[in-house]
C-alpha cells in the first residue's frame, strides 16, 4: 500500500555523503549535501560534469548506498526501503535504457508490464504519451533508428507509462538539439501542471536553470546555492554590462577587461564584451588603455550563468591570475584562405551525412562548426583532418588534402579530439613526451617545449599522475598542451569544452584567443550555441547541410524581431531549423 505521506516534501536530502574508490583512492562525490524538493515543483539540479548530480540522482532512486546522511522520498527512507520508493517514482537515467532492437511500441509495452499498468488502461495512456512526444507516426520503428531527441522523448514516455508521483530526470537534454530541447521542456512543464507531478532534473546547461521553479546549484560534490532562479539573478542586478570599444579588437578588449580590478567575468559576445563586476558599478573605462577609443558601456539584464560564475569565483582561489599574455598583434597579413572546402559530400551507404558543403577559413581566424549531434559537423571535421575520405568535393588545408598529404604537412596542424582522448594509463609527462616525439621533437627542443607545457598549463603538480585520474579540467589542459607541442599553424578542436565547468571553459577560450591573436588558425566544433560568440565566423549545420554562415551577429540579426530584439544564438538556431523545414515543405 502507498505509505507515502501527503505532507512530507517530495525529496528531503539530509547531510548526504558518498565516495567511490577510483584507482585505489577514494573520490568524494558528495560531501554533506542537504536540500529539499517541494511537491509539484520543477527543481533543477545544476552543475558541471563531476559535480555529483548523477550520484545524487541515483541515491534518490535507491540505486546506490548512502555513506552518511539520509534521503527521504515522499516521506519514505530510501536507504531502508528502496523498493517502496521505486514503486512510486519514475527515473530516467542519463543514457536511458531503451532497448534499441525493440520498436517504440514494444518498449512501451515492456515498461507498462514492469510498472504493472493494467491492459485496459494502456491504449488511452499510450495515445496521450505518443501524442505529447510526437512519436505517433513511429510506433513501429525500432528505437535504435530514432534520432537522439526522439530517443530522449521515448525514454521519457517509457518512464511515464504509469504516472509517477515524483519524476527524476538525469540530464534529459544532453546531446539533444535545441529544437528537441525546447520540446522536452514543453512536455516537462505540461506534466507538472496536468499531472501534479514533482520533477527533479539535472542539467549541465546553465540556461535551463531559468526554466526551473527552484534550483539546486552544485559544484565539486557540494551544494553551493539553492533557491528560485530569480533569487540568483536578483543578486546580480546592476552588475552586468556590455562593453564595446573601437580601435582594439574584441579579444584584446576582453583580455584587458578581464584584468581590470573589480571585474569578475568578461566574455566575448558578438562584437562586444559582456562584463560582470564585483560591485554594482560599471567597469572603469580608463583601464582599457590609451588605444581604446569610443568606449561604450551599457547595463544589461543579469543571467543565471553570471551568478554561477560569481558563486564559483568566490569559492575557488583565483588560479587564473596569470592569464596568458596576449602576444603583440601579429602583423596584418593578407586575409588568405588557409582552409578551403568546396562541394564537400560524404555518404555512408544511402545516408548523406554531409551534403554539398562549402566554406573557407582565413588565417588567424577562429572558425566555428555549430550544430546538434548528428548534424554532420563531426563528419566534416574528420574529413578536414584527413581521417575520413570525402565522397565528393575538394578540401584543402594549408594547401594540402591531409588525407593524401605528406607527413610533413600534418606537422603543421594540431588536433584535439573529442572527450580529450589521451593515453589514460600513461602519466601526464609520458603523454607529453609521446606526442612531442610523434611530432618529431627531440633533444633540446623537446625538453624546452615540455617545460613550456608544464608551466603554461600549470601541470607541474600532476606531472606523474595517471592522466585518466585527472580532473576533467586538467584533462582538457593536457589535451590542448599535447596538440600544441609542435607549435602548429592550424589547430582543430573537436567539442573542446563539453562537460567542463564555466570557469574552465573561460580559461580555455582565453588560451584559444591568445593563439588566434598570434596568427594561429582555429577550427572548432561545438554544440554549445553560446560558444558561437567566441568565433570570428561560423557555419551552422543541420542534417548535413549548412543553414547559415557568417559572424554570430549577422546570423542573430537575421532573426531579430519586434518581440525579440536581441535573439540568442539558440533562438537563431531554432528559427533556422523552422525556416529550413518550411522550405523543405514548400519544395
Amino acid at each position: 500500500m502507498p505509505r507515502e505521506s501527503e505532507t512530507a516534501p517530495a525529496v528531503l536530502i539530509d547531510r548526504v555523503g558518498k565516495s567511490f574508490a577510483a584507482g585505489g583512492r577514494a573520490v568524494t562525490a558528495l560531501d554533506g549535501v542537504s536540500a529539499r524538493v517541494e511537491r509539484g515543483s520543477v527543481t533543477g539540479l545544476i552543475g558541471p560534469d563531476g559535480a555529483g548530480k548523477t550520484t545524487l540522482m541515483r541515491l534518490t532512486a535507491g540505486l546506490l548506498r548512502l555513506d552518511s546522511g539520509r534521503i527521504e522520498v515522499l516521506g519514505i527512507d530510501v536507504g531502508k526501503e528502496p523498493l517502496e520508493v521505486q514503486a512510486s517514482i519514475g527515473y530516467m537515467p542519463q543514457h536511458f535504457g531503451l532497448y534499441e532492437d525493440l520498436t517504440v511500441k514494444e518498449n512501451l509495452d515492456l515498461y507498462a508490464d514492469l510498472q504493472g499498468v493494467p491492459a485496459a488502461d494502456r491504449p488511452a495512456r499510450y495515445a496521450e504519451l505518443l501524442h505529447m512526444t510526437g512519436l505517433e507516426p513511429f510506433t513501429g520503428r525500432l528505437a535504435g533508428r530514432l534520432s537522439g531527441g526522439m530517443k530522449q522523448k521515448l525514454g521519457l514516455a517509457c518512464t511515464l507509462v504509469r504516472a509517477p508521483t515524483l519524476l527524476l530526470l538525469d540530464e534529459p537534454t544532453v546531446g539533444v538539439d535545441p529544437v528537441s530541447r525546447r520540446e522536452l521542456w514543453a512536455i516537462i512543464e505540461k506534466l507538472t501542471h496536468a499531472e501534479e507531478m514533482t520533477v527533479l532534473l539535472s542539467t549541465a546547461y546553465l540556461d535551463e536553470a531559468e526554466r526551473c521553479g527552484a534550483v539546486l546549484l552544485m559544484h565539486d560534490g557540494r551544494l553551493i546555492g539553492e533557491g528560485a532562479p530569480g533569487e540568483f539573478t536578483g543578486k546580480m542586478a546592476g552588475r552586468s554590462f556590455r562593453v564595446a570599444a573601437r580601435g582594439i579588437g574584441r579579444r584584446r578588449l576582453q583580455e584587458r577587461l578581464a584584468r581590470t580590478p573589480g571585474v569578475l567575468d568578461a566574455i566575448i559576445q558578438g562584437s562586444h564584451v559582456r562584463v560582470v563586476t564585483e560591485q554594482t558599478a560599471p567597469p572603469a573605462a580608463d583601464a582599457l588603455g590609451p588605444d581604446a577609443a569610443g568606449v561604450e558601456i551599457a547595463a544589461v539584464a543579469p543571467r543565471f550563468e553570471d551568478s554561477f560564475v560569481a558563486l564559483l569565483k568566490a569559492r575557488v582561489a583565483p588560479v587564473a591570475a596569470r592569464a596568458p599574455d596576449l602576444p603583440p598583434q601579429a602583423p596584418a597579413k593578407p586575409a588568405e584562405d588557409v582552409i578551403v572546402v568546396q562541394h564537400l559530400t560524404r555518404r555512408f551507404g544511402a545516408f548523406l551525412a554531409v551534403n554539398d558543403v562549402s566554406f573557407a577559413v582565413r588565417r588567424g581566424e577562429i572558425f566555428g562548426l555549430l550544430g546538434a549531434n548528428g548534424a554532420g559537423k563531426s563528419t566534416t571535421f574528420r574529413m578536414l583532418c584527413g581521417l575520413l575520405p570525402a565522397s565528393e568535393g575538394t578540401l584543402r588545408v594549408a594547401g594540402f588534402d591531409l588525407r593524401h598529404a605528406a607527413a610533413v604537412a600534418r606537422g603543421h596542424i594540431g588536433y584535439m579530439a573529442q572527450k580529450f582522448s589521451l593515453y589514460g594509463d600513461l602519466s601526464v609527462r609520458e603523454n607529453l613526451r609521446f606526442f612531442s616525439s610523434a611530432y618529431d621533437l627531440h633533444g633540446q627542443r623537446q625538453r624546452a617545449r615540455m617545460a613550456w607545457a608544464f608551466a603554461e598549463f600549470e601541470l607541474q603538480a600532476f606531472a606523474e599522475a595517471t592522466s585518466k585520474d585527472l580532473p576533467l579540467g586538467y584533462k582538457q589542459r593536457l589535451a590542448l598542451a599535447c596538440a600544441l607541442m609542435h607549435e602548429p599553424d592550424i589547430i582543430f578542436l573537436d567539442e573542446p569544452t563539453s562537460g567542463v565547468d564555466p570557469l574552465a571553459r573561460r580559461e580555455f577560450w582565453r588560451r584559444i584567443n591568445a593563439l588566434a591573436e598570434s596568427g594561429v588558425t582555429v577550427l572548432v566544433t561545438t554544440h554549445f550555441m553560446e560558444e558561437a560568440e567566441y568565433c570570428d565566423r561560423l557555419v551552422i549545420m543541420a542534417q548535413g547541410i549548412i543553414l547559415a554562415e557568417g559572424t554570430s551577429q549577422s546570423i542573430k540579426a537575421r532573426f531579430a524581431s519586434a518581440e525579440r530584439p536581441e535573439p540568442t544564438m539558440e533562438d537563431a538556431f531554432v528559427a533556422l531549423i523552422e525556416e529550413s523545414v518550411t522550405k523543405a515543405r514548400a519544395a
Binding site: L387, A407, A417, L422, D425, F434, F435, S437, D440
Partner: protein, 369 residues
Amino acid sequence: MWRRILALVAKELLAVLKDAKSRVVLIGPPLIQLVVFGYAATFDLNHVPFSVLNHDRSAASRELVARFAGSPAFQQMGALDSEHGIPELIDGRDAALVLVIDRRFTRDLALHRPARVQLVVDGRNSNTALLILGYANTIVTDFSRDWMHDHGGQAPPAVLDMRARYNPPLNSQWFIVPGIVALLTQVVTLLVVALTVAREREAGTFDQLLVTPMRLLDILLGKSLPGLLIGVLEATVIVLAAVWWFGVPLRGGLLPLYLGLLFFVISVTGIGLMISSLAVTQQQALLGAFLFMVPSIILSGFATPIANMPAPIQKLTLVNPMRYFLVVLRSVFLEGGTVQSLLPQYWPMALIAALSLLAAGWLFRRRVY
C-alpha cells in the same frame, strides 16, 4: 622516423604494462596454462584401475596378476568371482580393464597349448583403451618369455628390440611442454597486437595518432614491435621453465630455436594486426582473436598429430604458422635440430609472415578513415 617509431614502441609498452587488464592477460593465462598443461595434459597412464577374474587360482596365474599389479600403470581394484560382475565394473567406470584368466590356464601352459587370457577394456576413451592394450600386451609378453625361459620351453624365433629415438622414456611431458612455448607465445602476442588498435579506436586516441606526422608504416611498425618483444620475452621465460622446471632436454642450439620463434612471432603479429584493423571495438577484436586461436591450436598438432586428420584438413593446416613452429620447437628440444634441417619449416613461416603483414598493411590503409 626511427625516433617516432621508438616513441610509439615505448608508449605501447608503457600502456600495456600500466593497464591492469592487459597485465592480467599477459601474466594470468600463461602462468595457469604452463602449470595446467605441463602437469594435466598428459597421455601417460598412471594407476589405471583394473580388476581380475581368475578362474585358475594357481601359482602361475597369480604370478601374472602380480605383474599387472606391480606395474605403475595399473592399480588393482579387488577381484571378481564371476563373469556377471564385469559389466557393472566397466559400466560404472570402477575398472577400465578386467583380466580374465581361463580355468585351464596352468594346464595349458604345461601342455604347451595356448593358455587363454582375456582382456576386457573400456573403449569409451579410445586412446586410453589403446594404451591399456599396449601396456597389457607388454606385460603378458614379458611373462611368457620369462615362463618359457624358466620352464625350458623354446624361445621365440625372433624378439622385438624396441627403442624410442629422442625420447627414450616416452615421456609425454617432453612432447607437451615444448608445445606450450608455441601456444602461449601465440596467445600473448595475438592479444597484445589484436587489442591495441581497437583499444585506441575506443579511446579515440587513434585519430590523434593519425593526424600526427606518423606514416602508416611507422604506426604499423610501432604497433607490431611491442608484440614482437613481448612474445619473444614470454617464449624465453617458458623455454627456461621447460628446461629448469620440467627438465625437458634442450639438445639443439638457441639459434635455430630463436630463428623459428622470430618467424613465428612475426607471422602471428601480422595476423593480429589483420584482426586489429578489422575490429572496431575491443570486444570484436577479442572475439576475432578467439576465433582464430581455437582452430589454430587444434589444427597445429599441439595435442593430436596432424597426420591423423582427414586429407582436406591436413591441407588447411599448411596456412597455420603454429604448425611449423611446433616442429621447430620439438626438433630443437628433442632431436637437436639445426638451422639447415629446419629450413622446410622456416620458409613457410616466413611466407605467412610476409603475406599477413602485407595484408594487414593493406587492410589498415583501407580501414583508416
